[in-house]
Amino acid sequence: MAVTREAMLDQWEQPSFWRRLTVWDGLWVLLATTGSILLWWLYQSYMNGYEVAIQVGCTLALVAWGVYWKPARSFVLAVAALAVLALWRYGADYALRHSDFWLKYFLESQAAFMWMSALYVLATVAYFAALLGRSDFVGKTATALTWTATVMGSTGLLVRWRESYLLGVDIGHIPVSNLYEVFILFALVTALLYLFHENRSRTRAMGGFALLAISGTVAFLLWYTFDREAHHIQPLIPALQSYWMKIHVPANFIGYGAFALAAMLGVAYLLRSGAEARWPDGLLARVLPPLELLDEVMYRAIALGFAAFTIATILGALWAAEAWGGYWSWDPKETWALIVWLNYAAWLHLRLTKGWRGAAMAWWAVIGLLVTLFAFLGVNMFLSGLHSYGSL
């Protein structure tokens, strides 16, 4: 670029949005739309009008995401490349997952999830090592591990989507249909949200805390896989055969992921404020992320989570109106979604209109996650209702 920083600053007018776009932005837009059109061309026979509309919406969102946050591009491209490789290795033969080298060890969904799991756990360790050892190099490694894990997990989900069709055309569906699949989605969303804030705030100090939540998810996933054999692809029951699932579930998990991130930052906040009170000169008080930063990111995570959760709950209501005969049935899952939503509404009011800050809000964010976890897991485990297909 020929424009220097000086020259940019000297401009009275802020360059318009369009003028700020670079060649790379253009290339990104082109690539994303071409990819999407190609996908549509390949798979249009499986899609109805609503699903095409969802695809268009997703493409726009993807383009905007990449323009707004540059690292998203490399991420999306890496995932796309790996997914294409997997699809190519598979062809139309699901059995190849046992024999093809690439599939068996890297790209088959189950293999990809194992990579994801291992890398997230390593990343967690690395983030804490970087924090306590104050090592920049280890920190960078942790970031790279997290990115790689997220790429593997996302690839795994896409591949699993294809695999479900290889299993049987009538079985094929987007992999957000049971607890196993959404747990992976949850880990990925949480990781991406964290990476965004890491990138924006230019510190890796929050990493260990965010990744701790993800490692917990991984532990659950491994138990769920090996003890319960939950990883098998199951056909969709009639109630889930709807395009609504494609938007309702991911929107929900943006919410869950954001709330989880906020809660983990809440934990960091409590640790830091405790450390500052007790050992003001200790290691913890120095290396843990600063309180103002935690407070700010916590707020932004809860705001995003609240917005996403609002959309998700409304989409759920619209779906319910189509599937169950009413937009609201006080089904336990619905009701708990409302409880989660009201809880964070209270949190936001306290912060904005009453100016609360500090440990109380951090505690509330942590407890908020327990409420959220109950809505997400506990309801499926302990309460019966229309959502019972999500059971453990």
């Binding site: 600053l9 054999e229 189509e322 609201w328 309460l383």
Partner: protein
Amino acid sequence: MPEPIPTDRVEQASPHASPNPAVNETVTRQPNCRRTPSWALLEFFGSMNLAITLLVVVAVASAIGTVLQQNQPYPDYLLKFGPFWFEVFRRLGLYDVYGAGWFVAILAFLILSTSVCLYRQAPGMLREMVRFRTNVQVRSLRGFHQHAEWRLPDRDLDAVLGTVSELLRARGYRWRVHDGGDHRVVAAMKGRYNRFGYLFTHAAVVMIGIGGLLDGNLWLKLKEWRGEVVLETRDLAARDIPAVSRLAPGAVPAFRGNVMLPEGAAANFVFVRARDGFVLQDLPFAIELKDFQVAYYDTGQPKSFVSQVVIHDREHLGEQPMEATIRVNHPLSYRGYSIYQSDFGDGGSKLDLRAWPLTVARLEPTEVKGTVDSSLKVSGPTGPLTLELDDFRLFNLLPEPDAQSGERKFRNFGPSVGFKLRDAAGEAREYFNYMAPVQLEGRWFFISGMRARPGEPFTYLHIPADPSNSPERFLRFNARLRDSIWLRDFLARSAPASDESPEFRRDFERVRLSLVELFAQGGSAAVAERARAVVPAERLQEASALYLNILRDTLAQIFIEVLRTEGVEVEQAVGEREEAFFNDAVSALSALPAHASPFYLQLTGFQQVEASGLQVTHSGGVGVVYTGFSLLIIGVFIMFYTSHRRLWAWLAVEDGATRLLLAGTGNRRQAEFAREFASLRTMLERRLGPFEEEQSAPPTIPSPDTRLAADVGTR
């Protein structure tokens, strides 16, 4: 509650207790602060504390209803809690929390509180959107987190004013200039539509709340309360339901009702359940079910439920009825009513049944024909019984019983019949018999489940199937044990040859006979009990073992005799298969008394008639609610992701120099505003020269926002 933590909130234009009243006075100011009762009421309902309390209270109240399963049949609750707590919980409305008066009242409270809040805030917000705050003091501007000052010795005030306006225009601000005599104030703002965020979200909450309440059971409750409607609690056919328990079409603006239609049947009503009863809602049209189909995946799991229906409506459709298909996730909308696929069941399948006697010496079965949902009189050992045929299922997909633990496998156990046997006193036992034999651990069984009380798990009887896939061998064996004439004769014939005295042989024969009879009446348990009754405790173990040995030997002899009559070659040895069969048969015989059925009812043929459960709904509030939904989404995003920003430039001539004080604030997204302010300041510096370092202003603590801004600003 912890104290509100005082923080650096100068920038936040909040309508509540802001540390910088100069900035926020228009929003906080009450129009008339006279303490009238209505004012106090408004103050109470619109208070933030009440609002936050209500948010939490509604959350907790909602949780209560998820702990106890709602709207179950009342007898189930009675069974679960016992009469005392059942009544207490009933009065508290815990069986239908979301329809209970107290819950609706809390919701209404939240709606009221939000409305009052909106009513009080909206005028301020709207004023805030149009009013440029030209009436500011230097002191308060210096109190802003974002501010900068210049002393410009050789600049003309109007020229500086021009530069500032130019900058504001370039950055999309709108502004007003106020001439204060010795100074000028430029008051600018941008992003005022942020205030719509508050208005939209909170109006949306009110709309969704009101719409939702209207779509709930409020109308029915009102009609009940006024005595116009009485819930029907008896199990009546639709035509017998009295008029007070019927609702004409349009009598309530919202309802949700169900009807179960067998193939070929039609209905112009639905049942609306409420608490422990229901009312019948008439529809202005009739729904006829032509066909109902369930499709299955290869694994046996259901894949789709599809109803082909015909809508009959003379008035609107004329003689030509309308055909439609209803599937899960694909309801039919007709004249503001929505019709959903919600359930399925049996619509009177015709069953061929064979009743094999179990408690008498007879082997010949009785052939019976019946339809599901009908009952037959049969005779039982202790009096007449009613056989109620309740249920027929074509598929029974169940977890694989032979699976390793943790393995997720399913097996289709095939067709089944469910029925009840009710005695003269009204006591009923429930049975569930599979049609085809089931393979378990390599052997085949006819399975029959029984439970004495609804809600309990079934206990299963496993009748071994013979090589021709029939229960006959077992039944012949069973019949032999109950044929005392034959038994006597057989035992005499088969007594082991020995040199014991004839008395001993007679006694031994008697013991064998009574053991077999005991076993046939009460299973192994009865034999053990008899041993306990007649043998002294110290010899009990030994004697029981002896009894059981004798019994087993005798049963084996009888079984071999049964095999012989079947023509099985048993002279040399009994095969492994027969031995396994014998063991299974003895287990089944031992379980027979507890099974308590005078016959084994075998399903031999069927002609399935399905029924489709349709739900019909009408919700008058849906328009309001959906509008609320849109407003809520738009509002939330506006509120979080835009910000109402204000800038002030205070200009005066002091000692021949022009003084410029620039200050600003945003009501959201402080970090972003700090960045914007920094860039504005830099631009002014390029035109006007460096700004003055702070002298008079209070030292500013680096806030998260500026820190972040500094971070981000360098990229």
